[in-house]
């Protein structure tokens, strides 16, 4: 039932990669531009053919260069959301969605538009829609194909930050309806970490590291490919209160977190992305500090980097947060695995789009369509 991909090519972008995505799983292909991640996506869709390759979905072989099988894109049941959406400009939103159906069905198309919160705009043409609305139509159109694999090519890169936050939340909510493997191509590590179950880091067409986001964040070779500044840990929390001073209190296993107004009602489960470079470590519990978030934890390991920094993994409750500090600081504090430390985080250092609603996903959700096909 999974999506299996293998592709090798000499050029124009050298490629030698293989990965697997389980049904209902969202895998992020992360890499810089030119790393080959989009080419991999196009290989799955059949828009590009590697010299050697194999794409298998749900038992169907879409591409097998050894066996001489290469289905054209229109014979692969694939939903692709393009970076610039590539909507049909002469059709309304509803017609765009219907164009992807085997048997165009108005009511069903309207239902899918509902799913992406776009019902009232179904008669508008793409030019009359905002970027975020166009993206929703593109997602609806991809789902209308009843794809066996859903592919998202940098789908959030063409919208502003505020819209992006909303779309993240929508994608997370939508996943309750998605039973097929989903592949997200992105250069944005935040996006990958917020949305994906697993990540595959691509560099120069090769898989540098694959694994859960936590595993990838702990792998030095992946950090090199992504950029050390992108290292962050994800901390689950629950919205506890919206305070009058514009902060929200979140309850985490690590104790309360105070962050700039988080969206969502009290009780909403969220995940907070804490950037390793924003975390300060202290041996003693600091007093008289302006920072609002002090998390007590135990050092599990200290990984040296190539530069002057080290990555300190601190277990806080059941979770691990990462702190990137200088080797000098680590030496001065004589930090060792097993030591108790306090991780200090400035409230305002958590960007708004680094807080996402936690996904309530059941792989066998009862209302699995429109994607079950």
């Amino acid at each position: 039932m999974a999506l299996e991909v293998m592709a090798r090519a000499a050029g124009p972008i050298p490629l030698d990669a293989a990965f697997r995505v389980e049904p209902g799983e969202l895998l992020a292909l992360v890499g810089h531009s030119g790393s080959g991640k989009t080419t991999l996506l196009r290989t799955i869709a059949g828009l590009w053919r590697p010299e050697v390759g194999r794409v298998r979905v749900n038992g169907h072989i879409w591409l097998d260069s050894a066996a001489g099988v290469n289905l054209p894109p229109h014979r692969r049941r694939v939903g692709l959301v393009f970076q610039n959406y590539a909507l049909f400009p002469h059709m309304t939103a509803l017609q765009n969605v219907m164009a992807a159906m085997d048997a165009p069905d108005r009511a069903e198309a309207a239902r899918i538009l509902d799913l992406v919160n776009l019902h009232d705009l179904s008669d508008r043409k793409p030019a009359q829609l905002s970027g975020g609305q166009q993206q929703r139509v593109a997602v609806a159109r991809a789902l209308a194909r009843r794809p066996q694999a859903l592919l998202l090519d940098e789908p959030f890169s063409a919208v502003d930050r505020a819209t992006r936050e909303k779309l993240y939340a929508e994608i997370i909510a939508l996943r309750a309806h998605l039973a097929m493997p989903v592949v997200l191509v992105t250069h944005d590590v935040n996006e990958a970490q917020m949305l994906a179950d697993r990540m595959v880091v691509i560099e120069k067409g090769r898989v540098v590291r694959a694994g859960t986001t936590a595993e990838v964040m702990a792998a030095p070779e992946a950090l090199r490919a992504m950029g050390i500044r992108e290292v962050a840990a994800m901390l689950p929390a629950t919205v506890a209160a919206h305070l009058p001073d514009g902060l929200s209190r979140l309850d985490a296993a690590t104790g309360p977190l105070f962050l700039p107004a988080v969206e969502g009602a009290v009780g909403t489960r969220v995940r907070v992305r804490i950037m390793a470079q924003d975390v300060i470590l202290s041996r003693a519990r600091p007093e008289g500090l302006s920072a609002q978030n002090i998390l007590r934890g135990r050092i599990t390991r200290i990984l040296p980097g190539t530069g002057p920094g080290v990555m300190v993994h601190v277990a806080v409750g059941d979770h691990e947060i990462l702190a990137r500090i200088t080797r000098r600081a680590a030496d001065q504090l004589a930090l060792q695995p097993g030591d108790t430390v306090h991780a200090i985080l400035k409230s305002l250092s958590v960007a708004r789009d680094h807080v996402a609603r936690a996904r309530e996903w059941a792989p066998d959700a009862p209302d699995a369509p429109p994607a079950a096909g």
């Binding site: 054209p72 229109h74 939903g79 049909f88 194909r145």
Partner: protein, 222 residues
């Protein structure tokens, strides 16, 4: 006013459009999307009738259609009539010398359809034919219509090639352009003036339609 000649010209232009419409769509699309080694050569050949002197081009067509040519022989064998100095021969010549007008605007029309949109059509499960019908033609049709309008207008006005291949047989190959020339030769300035004015009106109308359509292409895709 030579109504026979005008009617003949209109028939000639009409048939030319009928035959060139599929050529326009298929060749325009092919040249717009496909990359191949001899593409430049093919494009140059398509453009050739535009730069060749009509008499030169007409002369070669005359030779190619003539009684001793393979094409002339084949035609004679199939239909029992000669190709040169016949309406059919004129239509064939017209198809050839209109190739640049029929293909170029259509090619530009198809080129204006973003590659991503065509890929999206394929990913929506549309076969290439369905994609042509549902996505590409609805976006590129102003280019195709421009091509047909130009073909029609150019056929009405062509003189040199028509004279070389068709001669000037009334009701068979004497087009309005040749008829105008005849009137001038016969000092019938008034007749020439009326017919010229009709051609001017048709040409103006054609250009207006073409400009209006090309502005639509821009708007649809923005």
């Amino acid at each position: 006013m030579d109504w026979t000649a005008l009617w003949l010209s209109l028939r000639l232009a009409g048939w030319t459009v009928v035959f060139l419409l599929p050529v326009s769509v298929l060749m325009g699309r092919f040249l717009a999307y496909r990359q191949f080694r001899s593409k430049g050569l093919v494009e140059a050949l398509v453009m050739l009738p535009l730069v060749l002197p009509p008499t030169v081009f007409g002369f070669y067509l005359l030779v190619a259609f003539g009684r001793n040519s393979p094409l002339g022989d084949l035609w004679q064998g199939l239909f029992g009539s000669q190709l040169v100095f016949s309406f059919q021969g004129l239509v064939l010549a017209s198809i050839i010398f209109n190739l640049p007008f029929a293909i170029q605007p259509a090619q530009r029309g198809f080129q204006a359809v973003p590659a991503e949109v065509r890929e999206a059509a394929a990913c929506c499960g549309m076969s290439p034919w369905r994609s042509l019908w549902k996505v590409e033609l609805p976006l590129a049709w102003p280019g195709v219509v421009t091509a047909m309008v130009l073909t029609f207008a150019h056929t009405l006005g062509e003189f040199g090639i028509v004279l070389m291949v068709g001669g000037s047989i009334p009701g068979e190959t004497k087009t309005i352009a040749i008829s105008i020339y005849d009137r001038v030769q016969g000092f019938d300035d008034r007749g020439a003036a009326i017919m010229s004015a009709v051609l001017v009106a048709i040409s103006l109308f054609t250009i207006a339609v073409t400009f209006w359509l090309s502005s639509r292409v821009g708007r649809r895709l923005s």
